[in-house]
Amino acid sequence: MYFNHPIFLVTILLLLIFVNISHDGGKDLRKWLPTLSIMSTLIILINPFLVSRGTTILFYFRGKQVTVEAFMYGITMALFIAIILVIFISFNIILNGNRFLYIFSKFLPRIALMIMMAIRFVPLMKRRLDEIGDVQRLRGMSMTVGSLKTRVRSGMLRIQILLTWSLEEAVHVSNSMKARGYGSEGKKSSYTPYYMEKRDWFWLFVLASLMVVCFYGGKLGYGQMIIYPELGPWQFFQFDWVVFFCMLILTSFPLITEGREKLRWK
């Protein structure tokens, strides 16, 4: 855990949620919301009862002390996990197939391509499975009626049909790939519509500098709060503010760029 000051974490989380909403209106985030809230609540509730470190005792539970520090620790942990999850959701939206391939094909060209294909074939398989389901349901092999055994059996049969069908089709896929030179000798080049422009380099430099400040501050203990053995003060020192400010810009960078575009087109 790097920054563990609750104010830092809450700010980061809020900003990231806004960033996420700016991607797709929070559609993906909403799907994760139940998991996220249940997980956070569990961590906050369970941690103080399992860990009895800390000096400020709230009450005793079955002879064990329940402390403010452990509560605080649970909260920071929950915030931390929430942040990671939200970042991951953003990552998923932003780094879709193409960009993923672009980044990873530099080190792992073949594996990256395979992953790409696997991702592309998931919806295709889904469509095929639906089609099989329709046909089989109408011939009386239902997955919703009958004993568990027959249901499982008809489910397995569907998968079997799907596999036979897909293998059959895979021959054509590989033919088409071979016909266009896949697997031929020589180096594979990469056509990419992504370029680092001057302004990209500039902003990369700015972001990197901010990052360095944050790291340096963190290393010196700024942006952090002492939890164990005794809850430290909430108060910000001068350099805390500097680190906080850097962190603020760093996390809200996507919002700033997106917002600027929005304003420009108003």
Binding site: R137, G140, V173, R180
Partner: protein, 558 residues
Amino acid sequence: MEMINVNGLSFQYPESASYALDGVNLRLKQGEFVVVGGPSGCGKSTLLHLLKREIAPHGSPSGDISYFGKSLDEWEERVLMEEIGLVLQDPENQIIMDDVMQELVFGMENLGYSPIDMRLRLAEMVHTFSVEHLLNQKTTTLSGGQKQQLNLLSALLLKPKLLLLDEPTSQLDPVAAKDLLVMLERLSKELGITVIVVEHRLEELFDKADRIVFMQEGKIAYDGKSREVIHQVFKQQDTSFLPYIPAISQMYLEMEHSPTVNQIPLNVNEGKAWLASLPAMDQMIKKENGKSTENPKPIIELKDVYYQYEKSSSMVLSKLSLSLKKGDFYAVMGGNGSGKTTLLKTCLGLLKPQRGIVKRFGRKLTNKSVNRVHQNIAYLSQQPHTFFIQDSIEKEMLLITEQHEIQDSEQQIDSLLNTFGIEHLRNRHPYDCSGGEIQKAALACMLLTKPTILLMDEPTKGLDPISKIKLQSILRRLHSEGLTILMVTHDIEFTARIATKCAMIFDGKITAEAPPHSFFKGNYFYTTSINRVTQNSQFPEVLTLEEAVHSWQERELA
């Protein structure tokens, strides 16, 4: 200049007793547009695949294929890869990447082109065929026709001199198919690319091709210019190739007393010109034989049905009403994405409409009843092989008789296999059958339970003309035996020959419903080619070739 010289080529698949190709000789000049036709399993696809070395099938070939005077094996791998392009049948299976752009450059990336080179070619290609609007889309959002165009373009980006296409339009609707063929014609005419198309749907291609090759049982049966081949086939009354010939040309050959090869019409325009040159005949008003006015019970009834796939998407069906009466052969036609398949699935109870009533056998559909009445309903999907769960057709049929406790199963199975003429496929694995065969097998299996209604989704998609005729006679027979049939299709010619009621679906509604005669005769575009020729001519307006010949003979007798 001679580009391809196939010399005495024979080919045998492993563990197969017969030859897939048997002494094929074929010479191709540069820039030719060649169409190869023939029944399924005649070896045309094998021939095509042998021309592309990377995907040449395993087996024992003999004979020689040379490319610009040098045997294929002597050429450098890379040169052949670039110079011979390939587009396959199913558009879905050839797309590998998620983005259109990535898909287009896939081949160039594999061959290690520099980014500048790729950009240049891409820009040029995209501009020439004006597909800018596709460039930033996801491949999954494209229609079938657009996908096939994409496949063609990505093959073209390697600048091939020879383009091989294996039934490129068989999975497309007529409009998309026409677009693709126009693109091919352009490639041939403007860029001088040599094109070899293996195809079943030849009606359009006869007009475009420089040369037609018909194959049968691994041998070349006919080879020549479109008109010459048509003439020869007709002269010999070769029943295995007559169905391939455009209806207009057949009409000419049937009716003209002294046909000349050069005058054979290949398209509607030429057909009209020919008809106009004939002496006029007095119109004989054919009386429609008035059908009995009895009103059979509706089997499937849809009333004011609304359906949309997602809350935010548009209505696919809106206030649609339809009633399928007992004994109907009902064909629903309509463009891509007009909701044909949705309609079918609603009738089947697979989709539950947001509003409206769906009744089957006079009862409202519920989840339970969908699962219960499957015995009465047969559904032939676009992928008939999804029906099969056993590894042979006979086992499948036995399983069904067991499930439904059908008496004297052996006898039933035998008679059905005989009716469909697939006795020889009895022990075949469903996946080893051709498109037409598997369709028949699936139909045979479904009929074991004696359904009262058959629903079909695009039954003629990907079928060769011979299989189509067979399907037609089977369906006619089933219909006359009392089966009620509902099909959705693109195939105008097929519908005109077989349906008793046609309907057009447009804007989520059934907009026109009539027997084929009155349905098609008023239409300007959306009708058979024979009808387009005879419309507004001094001859009686007819829909199909049989009808034309029939009315002609009647007149001669009169």
